[in-house]
Amino acid sequence: MPSSNANLVTRSLAILAKDIRLELRSRHALNAILLFAVSTLSVVSFSVGQSGLGPHVLAALYWVVIFFSAIAGLSHSFVREEETGTGLLLRLKADPDPVYLGKFFFNLMLLMFIAAVVTPLFFAFTDATLEQPAPFLTITCLGILGLCASTTIVAAIIARAASRGALFAVLSFPLLIPVLLVLVRASQKVLDGQSWGEIASEIQFLVAFPVVMIVGSILLFKFVWRE
């Protein structure tokens, strides 16, 4: 591995390790996301849990929970740097690429953890049934990748804005509409018992979307971080 790439990996891991350590010691983002996810799931299960909803509604409810959980906490790692005044020294010392990658993988881990909690609870609280777990889990993982790829760059953009809370949702939503629509459609097909072949085009989109978003974000981030 060339030394510059090794350096990038080492420095990205340093940012990731720092964010994990801060999160484990404060649990701000984790608590916010978990609280939101569990309370939303509870409301959904109490109101419509066993009322025989079709796959199209269940798929939408599942992604609504994941989407709003992401909105509740994924801006935190960038916003925390600005709120606590640590962003200035980080901007001075760290190159943009490792900062973006470290924060991206931190958000990815956070949302993977949330999905690991929400997904079994969703199937326990609703009458959704899963005949084919593999395609559903694949869609969930790719969806989370897409959500993180979109929201990480938006979090970086809004971190230094005054009314950042509302701005995060406002800017994220248009970026996430295409991926959410595809995620709901793919999840609905899987919950309806359709096979891999029936969701091939959705899988292609869900692979391409985060790739495009991550490459675009890396190109854009150096301007966001240093301007």
Partner: protein, 205 residues
């Protein structure tokens, strides 16, 4: 030999001019005090020189001999201490030192950490969370972070804020030790502090 050069630096917020046509050039071993009343733009000038704020007009360039340094290179060569620069409260002093060394391409050993902590009068506190430090102890730790990689440029904004007498002496000693090997820029209104600089840049006239 390292050098920083600024030409016609101008900074405007909305309709208010904070900096107007500031030009300077400082090389290794030279020092400058930036003085002026509150709100005259001392901190803005430092942040602009550090590329942390973009000037409305003019530019800042950093050099090693005759080679111009890019922003990544200059960031690794600089130490910066200011009241508005914060360390991570939920990390220990040692974790902060290691983190900022690792993101700046460096590496800091346990022995170097002990040296730095002793130099700033915080020996035996390396494993304590920074959130439990007093404001003066945090200020001392900022010097340890700034000096850990032997900076070639040292920027100090209100260098002795929050420090007691022994902390002020530590800062004076640090400045005496590093001034021959660094470009030193101090923003202050304390006569005792700007007297140690060779040049003075008065803002807000």
């Amino acid at each position: 030999m390292f050098r920083i050069a600024a030409e016609n630096l101008t900074k405007r917020y909305e309709h208010r001019w904070v900096l107007k046509d500031i030009s300077l050039s400082l090389s290794t071993g030279e020092s400058m005090a930036v003085t002026g009343p509150n709100g005259s733009g001392k901190s803005t000038l430092l942040k602009t020189l550090l590329h942390l704020e973009r000037p409305t007009k003019g530019d800042v360039r950093w050099f090693e001999d005759d080679r111009e340094l890019d922003q990544s290179e200059s960031g690794r060569l600089v130490g910066f201490v200011a009241p508005y620069v914060q360390l991570y409260d939920q990390l220990s002093a040692e974790e902060n030192l290691k983190f900022f060394a690792s993101v700046g391409h460096g590496n800091v050993t346990g022995k170097r950490i002990d040296e730095l902590m002793e130099m700033v009068g915080l020996e035996g506190r390396a494993h304590d969370l920074v959130g439990g430090y007093s404001s003066g102890m945090k200020q001392r730790l900022k010097y340890a972070v700034a000096l850990q990689e032997h900076p070639k440029f040292l920027f100090l904004d209100e260098p002795t804020s929050n420090l007691d007498d022994s902390g002020r002496k530590i800062v004076r000693d640090i400045v005496e030790v590093v001034r021959a090997e660094t470009v030193l820029i101090i923003a202050t209104n304390e006569p005792e502090e700007y007297a140690i600089a060779q040049q003075q840049c008065q803002l807000g006239d």
